[in-house]
Amino acid sequence: MSATGIGAAVRRKEDFRFITGKGQYTDDVSRPGQTYTCFIRSPHAHAKILSIDTAAAAAMPGVVAVLTGQDFAESKLGGLICGWTVLSKDGSPMKMAPHPALAAGKANHVGDPVAVVVAESVAQAKDAAEKVVVNYEVLPAVTDPAKAAQKGAPQIHEVAPNNTIYNWHLGDPDATAAAFKGAKHVTTLEFVNNRLVPNAMEPRAALAEYDPGSDSFTLWNATQNPHVARLVISAFIGMAPEHKLRVIAPDVGGGFGSKIFIYPEEVVCLWASKKVGRPVKWTAERSESFISDAHGRDHVTRAQMAFDDDGKITGLKVHTIANLGAYMSTFSSAVPTFLYATLLSGQYAIPHIYCEVDAVYTNTVPVDAYRGAGRPEATFVVERLVEVGARELGLDPTELRRRNFVKQFPYQTSVASLYDAGDYDASMQKALQIHDYKGFGKRKRESERRGKLRGIGFATYIEACGVAPSSLVGQLGAGVGLWESAEVRVNPTGSVELLTGCHQHGQGHETTFAQLVSERLGIPIENVTVVHGDTDKVQFGMGTYGSRSGAVGMSAVVKALDKVEAKAKKIAAHVLEAAEGDIVFKDGKFSVAGTDKAIDWGSLALQAYVAHKFPTGEIEPGLKESAFYDPTNFTFPAGCHICEIEIDPATGVTEIAAWTAVDDFGTVINPMIVEGQVHGGVAQGVGQALLEHTVYDDKGQLVSGSYMDYAMPRADDLPSLKVDTTVTKCPSNPLGIKGCGEAGAIAAPAAVMNAITNALGTEKIDMPATPQNVWAALQQANTLRQAAE
């Protein structure tokens, strides 16, 4: 292993600009003559828009334009779309309602934009926005997904009777029912997977500029996938043809899924920039983020697991109501279906599984993928059931897991996933050892001496990353392929620009992708620049989400590097006057086997460009290759997280006493970065389990709409973590990578809740386990216990 190659904890190349304040996020970009926007958003969850009076606003100082939903409707531009078609059980397509960038006729959630002011400054835009008079007729609203499809619920969209988007299912209902009939024991749980707000620290932003000279647009946008944004804005919105629209995603301050989607604001900025003939900028304030960024999770689930005499799982039945909010966001349909039910086998051989998912509209912000996207929800179902099942059967939870682990690969689950490689017991054993599981009893007694309750909980999770063979996702309804592209441009002096369709917003690609090139070509990592996030530079790419950049993006890089090496060898053969088959490339040097004839990388690159020594009719001058890589399967990272907590029964305050994570991510490019991804994922999972809660009142007002009300995890809410790995290589990509970005967020909620319920001795508590909820659960459990005694 070289100091900068695969497996080295290389310090990040991108850090210098961030630690010196030289990062360039969208709001940091300024264009000459730019204007600023303030969106007027519906204060009501559900309301007819009777009229909008813009006259007073238009007369305010500095106002350039005031545009309404009516103006947008007259522009004949298209609306926002969900790009993944899901079919109901009866074969009918999902009920996708129109989603105009500015609402006209009716607003469907608090925060739905109905008009926009464009002005010389943000302050002037805000002042004028206060003068826009919108006359609403308030309608009854529904926010609770469990009530959305019930009789008498307010109807949100004409196309979706009973607010139902689809009734979807996966698995064999009859075989599963039969498995339950023969079961020795059935564990049943009902729970809510709490709604979350992603809260990337950089608020969303867009800066749009129209150039009349070339009749083309440029959009700077805080997005995780600039090419997909361009495609949707071009092909579905109809703003401009793709070759007349450049999307630049500069430094992006966190995404976690929320910046995958195409949102109204960037569309409106583009449209307005042409209308006013000047660049138009919008940067969300945090309160806007809360009511306009797509939220995550929000499931109501009833699940049952059947066991035989030996504690073997014989069946699993799941019914979930998924809240998709007021409109279907870009990938929303896929999250509670293909990214959820396909993972319900967990790490276990479960012969029969049946899952039903009812997706509903409500008068809330749209819900879409948030770190883990479906897989944290699936893991919560499976891992809570397994843990509670073990308690009910009187088995150690690790023993019950061990009896049910998938042990032979490949393994075809009963919910379509084909697990390719793994060693689940190895991860668990390593975690148990690192955590000192054996010492738990002693630590528990010590806590009890101090009047505290101590609990331990596990999550042996599995996830599916690197989505997936394009032909398969096409069959499943996706509107896009999910391959990735790469281009390796070798300069005449041997330095390299690596272009990737992935996009970094915290993941460190500028370092890890360069490590790959450094190792392969034997050149210093400083001589590699990673280029991404600009549709004028990178030809096409699918962006970064679903922990795909390593497994899919780097595989494309490997393919491009293969081509570079192959061509370079041909050139070397001519330069060194040897047969191509005798050329060996090692440590940055081409040599002729068995001789001392050699040429180093930089000199070879120069030869490729001067083209003096090879026949250019046979070999083209230059050294630049590109590749598209389509995955052959999902990848299946898996691991074991152990959470140990201590509860103060007097206050309900839960403290995380220790955390151990042992993950199998396959090949690790940079262990420092991988550990960082685990830390961040766990923090978000712990946030979901202990702190974060998105609360709507029955009128549809978002009660938890700021950092005063929505509890983001702080430094003193979290412990230091013990993080380690085991390795089984992924057989379906050239590097053996599985992906690591979401694991922590997938494992953590179940691990925390298993620990808390272990300490409390009751399963009756939902996330977030705030001190109030923990204290109440404890009192209820004590009352029941006393009544029973």
């Binding site: 991108e14 850090d15 010196t20 030289k22 620290m201 830390h679 700021s706 950092y707 979290l718």
Partner: protein, 165 residues
């Protein structure tokens, strides 16, 4: 419009501003010092922390006119030319940042923490002191490590008070 003048990163800065202009807007929009970020509206996230007269201040909660005559240091003024401040170096060494958005505020808070509490900071103190800074990427694990190490390094002579103060 009132005129404000202050010293920012050792250089004089002067402008006529709308009275409601916040210090962070003055820094970002008038001086184009965009390293100081705005992550929330409610003084919670700390992405906007700068030093005013040697103390950490959330620049989204201070009017530019209130900083009239002050010595202001932003993330851009922390390094001594190409020589990184030890706290900047520690964040890089310990992978204390991912997306980088909260980082300027974190580093400015960390330096202030050391200035107030000294070079030996235990984990509990660091975690408690970070209550005004939110990071969504790192889970704080490596930020806590970086600040502990940066504090030590500041004490070992790498520890200049930053040049501009």
């Amino acid at each position: 419009m009132p005129t404000v003048s202050m010293t920012v990163n050792g250089k004089p800065a002067k402008a006529d501003v709308d009275p409601r202009t916040l210090l962070v807007q003055f820094l970002r929009e008038h001086l184009r010092l965009t390293g100081t970020h705005v992550g929330c509206d409610t003084s919670q996230c700390g992405a906007c922390v700068v030093h005013v007269n040697g103390k950490a201040v959330k620049s989204c909660t201070m009017l530019a006119v209130s900083a009239d005559g002050a010595q202001v240091v932003t993330i851009e003024g922390l390094a001594d030319g190409q020589q990184l401040h030890p706290m900047q170096e520690a964040f890089r060494e310990h992978h204390g940042l991912q997306c980088g958005f909260c980082t300027p505020g974190m580093i400015m808070t960390a330096v202030d923490m050391v200035n107030r509490l000294g070079n030996s900071l235990d984990e509990k103190t660091i975690r408690h002191e970070l209550e005004g800074n939110i990071c969504r990427c790192t889970g704080y694990h490596n930020i806590v490590k970086a600040i502990g190490a940066g504090a030590q390094a500041m004490g070992k002579g790498g520890g200049m008070q930053h040049a501009a103060e």
